[in-house]
């Protein structure tokens, strides 16, 4: 089968999944439960995506743990996104340097 067909199907499905809820829901939701539910969705989804995946993100548990600790501390302190993200990478890289010397 042509790769172009696969790509078209993938793209079509992915677009519809995003587009339908975004375009169809025009009214403000009144239900207190639904509003609360939608308020918590981003935190729940992002947390579930981060744990435990962050520990496998560098391909090595120890360097990933170093990056995770750095990210947790700096994020908790409220530093900007890019600072937290780059510091996590730097911590993981430094951990790799230390490990390669040991």
């Amino acid at each position: 089968m042509s790769i172009a067909i696969y790509i078209a199907v993938m793209a079509g499905v992915t677009y519809l999944i995003r587009m339908i809820p975004f375009t169809v829901f025009r009214k403000k939701i009144r239900s207190r439960f639904l509003k609360s539910f939608l308020y918590y969705i981003p935190y729940a989804v992002l947390s579930a995506m981060t744990m435990p995946a962050i520990f496998f993100a560098t391909g090595d548990l120890i360097t990933a743990a170093a990056g995770t600790v750095a990210a947790l501390i700096l994020a908790y302190l409220g530093l900007p996104l890019i600072v937290v993200a780059l510091s996590a990478s730097a911590a993981a890289y430094i951990a790799w340097l230390i490990l390669s010397v040991l």
Binding site: I7, I20, F22, V45, A48, L72, A88
Partner: protein, 238 residues
């Protein structure tokens, strides 16, 4: 107004651009290994703009899977975007007409959604366009570089960059969790569930796990800590 919002979106998209550049680099390598050309890999990234769905997609292409399998895999892995789109649809400026919604819905990714929903008040079309544009450029550019050059960076550096996006996620969820106990509860419940599924129910795919954890956690928190305030994220003053 449009220009100012567009510029703000571009600026807010810079961390996403950098993160995507490194993540899609890995996707580019994977896609070429799976038998796609550089152009095909770039097309997948341009038309899908999603990491997990694309990785699964090229796996299905490489295995010669059926179209049904492709559709089911994409629906399962990407269903979380429906939740995000629905959540974000509540936060849109009045100027978001149907054609503008059709355009902006293309670019609802985890990271773009996270940053847009963290904005105080409403989000405008041009803010979304700016953020989506710079993020898409990073995503496609990284794919092309990864696919064409194989590996420009030493492995330990590209491995270290792999943690960037997760660091960004933590930077988004932890400051509000520190302020509000209910958000902290959501973060902890979702993380615990996700780890539980990963280690105890490994047959559940990561995309499906995110859907389960997201829905259950948000429902539990909505029941335990319903929100009263009518002001949308009103604590930050302009």
């Amino acid at each position: 107004m449009k220009g100012r919002h567009f510029l703000k979106g571009l600026t807010h998209g810079i961390p996403v651009f950098l993160g995507y550049l490194s993540v899609s680099f890995g996707f580019g390598i994977l896609a070429v290994k799976s038998g796609l050309t550089v152009l095909e890999a770039a097309a997948v990234s341009l038309f899908n703009l999603t990491s997990a769905g694309q990785a699964a997609g090229v796996g299905i292409i490489a295995a010669g899977g059926s179209i049904t399998e492709m559709v089911l895999a994409q629906v399962t892995i990407n269903l979380r975007y429906s939740l995000m789109s629905l959540s974000l649809s509540q936060k849109l400026d009045k100027s978001f007409t149907t054609p503008r919604r059709l355009i902006a819905s293309y670019g609802i990714t985890d990271e773009i959604f996270a940053i847009a929903s963290a904005q105080p008040g409403v989000v405008t079309p041009w803010y979304m366009y700016g953020m989506i544009l710079i993020s898409t450029v990073g995503w496609v550019l990284g794919t092309v570089l990864g696919a064409a050059a194989g590996s420009i960076l030493p492995a330990e550096i590209s491995d270290s960059l792999g943690i960037m996006l997760y660091g960004m996620f933590l930077a988004i969820i932890l400051p509000p969790a520190r302020k509000e106990k209910s958000v902290l509860a959501a973060v902890i419940i979702a993380a615990a569930m996700s780890c539980g599924i990963y280690f105890l129910l490994p047959f559940i795919s990561s995309g499906f796990s995110v859907i389960i954890c997201g829905i259950v956690t948000a429902a539990v928190c909505a029941l335990l800590f319903p929100r009263d305030d009518e002001e949308p994220d009103g604590e930050v003053q302009p």
